[in-house]
């Protein structure tokens, strides 16, 4: 049974479509905003890029995947490319105590030069480990622990809290 006349029904349909479109736009904007924050971007670099590739290297080192220097070097290349981007994502006010939860300690902004040096160290370490990859699994494992993990640890020791706060 028709509750309203055909013209009202038309406008209702239009309004509904408009409302849905506006809603979808708003949601996209919200999602985009959340994904766009520097905090989320830098977290994504570490978790999606670095962690995933560390996993690849871990698999090769532990013998879970057949050793292939090319795969190792590819993973290390991706890891090594992260710091240059990463270091740009630390504007003032985005540390612990800012709007978003983060593990970035205030020491970063007190020692920005040192922080950037650690970023460069990570790229260099990835390159060193990539060179070792050509010498076989044991050389890769040794360099992974000493050079790559060493550079992770050095920066994390000073500048990263254990949990985002």
């Amino acid at each position: 049974m028709k509750l309203v006349g055909p013209r009202v029904e038309d406008s209702m349909k239009k309004m509904t479509r408009l409302a849905l479109a506006a809603g979808a736009l708003a949601m996209t904007a919200m999602v985009a905003n959340a994904a766009d924050s520097d905090v989320s971007k830098r977290r994504a670099l570490m978790k999606d890029v670095v962690k995933a590739n560390m996993g690849v290297l871990g698999g090769l080192i532990k013998g879970k995947t057949p050793y292939d220097a090319a795969i190792a070097k590819d993973a290390l290349g991706k890891i090594g490319a992260v710091p240059a981007e990463f270091v740009k994502l630390f504007p003032e006010g985005t540390g612990i105590g800012g709007k978003e939860k983060t593990a970035a300690k205030p020491e970063i902004w007190k020692n920005m030069d040192d922080f950037k040096k650690w970023a460069t160290a990570m790229t260099n370490a990835a390159a060193t480990t990539a060179a070792a990859a050509d010498k076989g699994k044991d050389a890769l494992a040794a360099s992974f622990r000493k050079d790559l993990l060493g550079s992770c640890k050095g920066c994390h020791e000073k500048y990263k809290a254990s949990k985002p706060q």
Binding site: R43, K51, G58, E100, K158, K160, S162
Partner: protein, 317 residues
Amino acid sequence: MRRLIKAGLILGVIGLGVFYVLTMPDTIDAAALPKHTADVKNGETMFYAGGCASCHAAPPAGKCEDPAAPDKFNLAGGHCLKTPFGTFYVPNISPDKEDGIGAWSDADFVNAMAKGVAPDGSHYYPAFPYTSYQRMRYEDLIDLKAFIDTLKPVKSQVPDHDLPLPFKLRRGLGLWKLLYLDGEQLKPDPKQSAAINRGAYLVEGPGHCGECHTPRDLLGGLKRDKNMAGGPSPEGGDIIPNITPHDDGIGDWSAEDIVEALTSGATPSFDVLGGTMTKVQENMAKLSDEDRQAIAAYLLALPPIPGPEVEKKATGS
């Protein structure tokens, strides 16, 4: 009125007297120490397990807050520890005879480590984790002293601690110790394996893991019913993780994962142990593989406890 004042004065004097008696330092006599020829190699193990350098090694010049120590064996002190109770300046424990502990007897060293009492009879602040070191065997303490005596004597004048009242009153620590220093050494449990017993000793004694990983009450004492369940960092600015085998902690870690983390710093999720744990891990890496496995066995045998007790928010970490 005069009677009231008199009564008040008498009560005051009695009160001071009681305070004095309660806060008298409890120490061990040299005669009570076992006859033991020092084993310097074991002392070195205790040095790493105990993490002495992590606090006592000299920081980079002019940067007392910097956790990096250019030379782990330069025990000149000077590192500043900022805590909710004030700032502590870590003393010189190099074997220098004036500025360090070079003139100390074995009994002096044992009293410092196990009783928190200095050779002059004053109390140490529990920023020095004697509440854990008290679990250690006297033989191990004697060995540790012998190892420290082989290191370089270094001259340094470290500032006094910068603490507000009432924490400034060292004598008051005598009361704190009545509550929190039970004086019990860790005895092996015959029902457990040798590995778990060794792990328990390393974790609860020299490792002093609970000093960070166990939450504290308002007086700064460890909440031992939440052993190793994590909490706010005693130095502020961070949250120390739960290392019991609970879902909140290391419930999905294998013994191999724990050993790997202690050996290289890599966690199962390909993160690295960071913050203050970096130095701990570097010390753990110097222990024998057997000792690291013992630590893993003990941690996995702990009662699983939820924690840390901080507001849990929904961001992935």
